[in-house]
Subunit: 352 residues, 5 copies
């Protein structure tokens, strides 16, 4: 969860804003606004923060998306135009914070984690904040991205539910997109676990353990990101704000169920990881056992025989056996008998 990204926090007064993330390029779109009604659709991809008053009108629904948290001035302008509380603005910027839901006089506010698997098969976390106002939704992304494209596409379709069901429906839909993505990440972990199980059953390389522990770590961070979301959604579903229409609450309850499902799956996968760890550790012990048995069998057979050979290698002057004609074949006879007896013994002990 980007521990390296986190900067030394000093204790700043409540509501202080500082630049977050990388400075965006000059060309980069910072604010986009989609205005829509059931019969109208317009997308303005590059909104000037000073022009917000002209962009946002009471007779349409608006979805304002902000792509960077770096430009503090821009945030302040947006905040001022929509009357956002300064604590709300601070929360948007605390990209390390766990998901939370807060209700303000004129806004509902939720932050949550967009989780995705990147090209190096690593799990990445990005903070997203969504604010619901009277006839608008504002979404804040830590970095530009195309997570919300499915919603954008649906908005183009004049017959889609999202066009006619008000801004609270859009608000829920944006949360839904984020939660739906968790399933993709979970599947990734499930696949990794399946591969690791096969690998652990076949060899006992140390690497397996590291990979197992990496999956475990992913699940730990996933859990940290999804657990508080349940709490947040539960608070949201109990809201008495009139920004939410009652007949849209069903959709929230659907998202809530998905979150519960994600949490249950994380717990299940954690259990599987610990099974895998057991398997790995027991494999190591088992193979050690095999190694030790080989050593013991070889030693137990040859050490006494070597002793015997040593005995007849002694140079005593008075050594009756040495003169005996059949001593040498007898020696081999004893060796073979001992060898067979040992093999028998090991067979009986199930060491072979």
């Amino acid at each position: 969860m980007g521990k390296s990204r986190r900067k030394k926090r000093e204790s700043l007064p409540f509501g202080t804003l500082v630049p977050v993330g990388e400075k965006p390029g000059v060309e980069q779109v910072l604010i986009s606004n989609i205005s829509y009604t059931p019969g109208f659709y317009n997308e303005n991809c590059d909104v000037d923060a000073n022009n917000l008053a002209k962009e946002i009108t009471d007779d349409k629904f608006h979805w304002i998306n902000i792509n960077s948290l770096y430009d503090v001035e821009l945030l302040k302008k947006v905040g001022k135009h929509f009357g956002l509380h300064n604590l709300l603005l601070e929360d948007i910027q605390q990209t390390e914070h766990i998901p939370k839901y807060e209700e303000f006089e004129k806004h509902l506010f939720i932050t949550l984690k967009m989780i995705s698997v990147n090209d190096q098969e690593k799990i990445e976390f990005e903070q997203v904040a969504v604010v619901l106002g009277k006839n608008y939704v504002i979404s804040f992304q830590e970095a530009p991205g195309d997570f919300f494209d499915p919603v954008r596409k649906r908005l183009l379709d004049a017959t889609a539910q999202v066009r006619s069901k008000g801004s609270d429906f859009l608000f829920f839909r944006l949360i839904d997109v984020v939660v739906d993505n968790y399933f993709v990440v979970l599947e990734h972990s499930a696949d990794q676990l399946e591969n690791l199980e096969t690998k652990t059953l076949n060899d006992n390389e140390e690497n397996n353990l590291r990979e197992i522990l990496n999956v475990k770590k992913d699940l730990i961070y996933l859990r940290k990101s999804v657990f508080p979301l349940r709490e947040a959604l539960s608070k949201l579903s109990k809201t008495e704000s009139d920004l939410i229409q009652d007949n849209n609450l069903k959709y929230l309850s659907d998202i809530y169920d998905h979150t519960i499902h994600v949490i249950q799956s994380i717990e299940t996968y954690r259990d599987l990881v610990s099974s895998l760890m057991d398997l790995h550790l027991s494999s190591i012990s088992y193979r050690m056992n095999v190694v030790m048995k080989v050593l013991t069998i070889i030693s137990t057979i040859f050490i006494p025989l070597t002793f015997l050979a040593g005995v007849y290698g002694m140079n005593f002057k008075y050594f009756p056996e040495l003169q005996w004609q059949y001593a040498y074949p007898t020696f081999w006879g004893i060796c073979i008998v001992l060898f067979i007896a040992m093999m028998f013994y090991f067979k009986k002990k199930k060491w072979l």
Copy 2:
């Protein structure tokens, strides 16, 4: 839980339907309808989705069973006829979802897992959804199966409770059949555990561990399927819907108690699995100990003796003992004394 079955989910709008499961054969019955009153019984095994209006009448109870979730058009027709909410239809299709209960204006809706042991002694999960309407129950199965046959048989019997107690009783009875089957699966796990315990006490093959971990995995998935059911049933029992008659709630409470029992048993078996794991790991350690003792005993006895034999195999020119007449028997004497002393020592240390 069929991780391989799961397809890459894109974030679809709320209530979107996609084909699920395998395409059913042309011959396969898709919809069956049993109409009954205390004095009437009729089973139509192959209902045409377009004919539902004619099939379903207000003066009878109906149990409509749908055998496949593949045909989206059919689901839409059924949904439209009964006025099912589009979120409800989506939930029926999410066969990976954990059990849930939801209340709609005119319907109560529950999904749960049918769990069974297949011929390869593997545990299989199948999603079942049951919808309760005014005078009908609709059950959706992921794949055709005969789970519900005991209920079908009872319905044939004009004196059976199920014929006279209304559709909510049938609704409970269908849930009950599913929950009752959990006991069969639990018994299967219990039997496996008992076998594994005997095996673990007798040998320490690596396979035992894999089998123990397989039982553990079964229990993990069982738990994931049954835990949320408790929550769902608890919500159902608190319903204020007038689709449920008060004097039938006793039967729900009975199912709820069975679910609690299943959950308790799963927890108990998980404890037993972990005991078994301890036994297995400790067995490995113990046998390693035995192996090491054998090695150590053999080495401790013969290594010093071999050294002694080596000494008298040296070719020094001035080597008084070599000339001594009783050197050889003395050598054996020393060997035997050392041997006996060692055995004594090991006996005292309880290594033998």
Copy 3:
């Protein structure tokens, strides 16, 4: 918990009765009835199920005890006479079910586990069901037994509380007898744990582990039997039924406290078992360490010396030392010096 006893359950309709347990002998008492008032006592040891109407009168208190769940007809007769709900009768027969409390219109009903230590020092579980009616208590035992004898004896005593305090007091007293017996079983486990600790400290035989795991298993099953009882008693204590007199609730609260005590003790003993497991496993590791040290000390001392002896056993023609007069005593000198140095080294490393 009698996994072997359990029969394959088919999903039967609610309230179906099947023979449970062994068929009782012809001579065996099935139903006994004790009728009492403060001034009256009569025990009928062999009641005919058809005569119940004559036996049970409104002006006396009755304690009916039924000794077998095998005779389904008898159960039905009893059920019919007292107006027991068919779900209640089914619950009485589900001897594998965890403890539960249920309230019916005219009856309070509780099932719990009688737990005892048999002659082979094994823990045995038997289901007991107790029903409280207006002026009677009915107890159902899975098999004939003398658990309830203390209560029987008290009832003979005209001055005993139980004679004057109504049937709810008797109901509580029967539950109390069962709970009191849990302490005896707990003591048995405590004694076993103490013995095992002594044994584990003295030797590391594999048997210890099996015995430890057996105690753990006992505790797992105990827990499964007692945990749900807390819930049941808690529900019972919140009843608003007028079958319970308010001034007798104190006695219920006493039983509840005992149950909490039993649960706490089970948890404590589970912790002790896990400590014992740690001790056992660490003992094995420790002894392995001792074994390995012996092997290493012997090997480290003698392997280099054996090499040296081997060197001087070589048959090179040009081998100056062999001719040297003091070669042999020098060889021994080197051996002794090496030996002492090694011992010193091991002493310093605390291996000796």
Copy 4:
């Protein structure tokens, strides 16, 4: 927790009293009574149970302390005089029971564990019961002791709060004394843990484990004694009895906070014990590793060299090297080169 002390319990009727603990000596004070008002103080160290009516007057506060639970007759007399419920008397005698709080019509009743460290550094548990009546407090100790001396001393001081604040304040103060003592016991465990950590870091004697497990056991029993106290105090703080004055509740809340603190510390120490266990087990593994490395290094160096020496000790008639003049120094050369190569290899593998 005195498992050996516990006697075989038969199921006795509610409220039966049996002698508990050792029979007190003839000389021993059994009942003492301190009577006080803000302006009056009198201590009667040896009260006759038959004289209670004379001792206890309505115009003074009284603290009656009873030193033994052996004399059943005495308990009955005391119980009768103060009108104590028979269940209350039974609870006083159940010295094995976990802490509990109970409210009776005219009395508040709490039992808790006095915990102390004895001279052999073992933790001892003693049951204390305190009863609060209208103007008196009765304390029951399992055995005579001086735990309550601090309170006795304060009562001598006419200006002390305890003299003027009523009997509920004294009731709280007695509980406070017991809870305060838990901190001394906790400190003892903390000291032991610190010592054990140092010892575990320095050697790996098996004794350490036993001592660690003893501390763990202490904590397990402590927990069992303190956990239920929280519940009891919480119930007490919610009492609506008018035996408690509202402005004294602050003192109870203080005791409650201390109890929470004790519980948190026990949990913390349990975590530390498990860390210590990990350290111990890992130490054993680590040292085993060291031992094995020594064995392997010695074996790996000398076994091949011994083989080489063995080769040149063979007695083949046609053995060219034996005749070679520089064979012997060459042999040593090879040995030294091999030795150095091995050392290098082990260095690289970080075994040295």
Copy 5:
């Protein structure tokens, strides 16, 4: 948590004060007072406890900071002037106590732990108590420190929120400063964990374990300090005291969220520590495996060969092979063949 600092507690009466911490130097500032209104600011760095009446006026806000808990007389004077309850004063002094919140008639009172990383990279805990009165905040520090400097600086700024929002805002701000510091400490632990993971992957020195366990210990103590704070803040947020203005509660809720975040992070890091432990232990096992394989390979190859060499070193008189001309090269041939066969075998077993 300064176990060594803790002194033997005797059970003192409620509200007794004893000197805590080190005696402050003569020069040291003990009490400072900042008086402010939106338009006024004055700092008196060295207030005489006898002059408080003159310092504290009703028309200004005051922040009194007390730097030492050693001077009992001073605490009593302060307590008397502000009318602090004696239990409150006692709680201020119990520097070992876990965080708590208490409400008094005229004051709100919270104690919490200031946690910091000192120069030796150790985590230090210091108790802080903050009291909120009508128009003043009093903060008590265990030892002089500059934790609160950020607040001091803000107060100098006439435009800062803290100047205009009343003393409850200052109260929250002081708590906020303490909680914000927890993130710094958490980061320290996160950095340590990252370093340790790298180190554990590269070598298996015993030191790693000690360092891992040290981090674990830090987290255990952190948890003990932060967990109860959540409870305290939750109680504070439910207060009905009119010392808190409703529109400032948002700031409290912000602190509460941060606390939850800290707790979640502690749990996450604990999981990571346990993963690291697993990695460490498995590393040890793995390396042991490697060591054992080397030993076994060397032994398995050379022990049989040494036996063979021993055989031909025997001095039997009748020993046909010795005379054979190609015996010696044949011997080497056999050795090489055996060697290659062994290597092949080990390759197949994946030991090489």
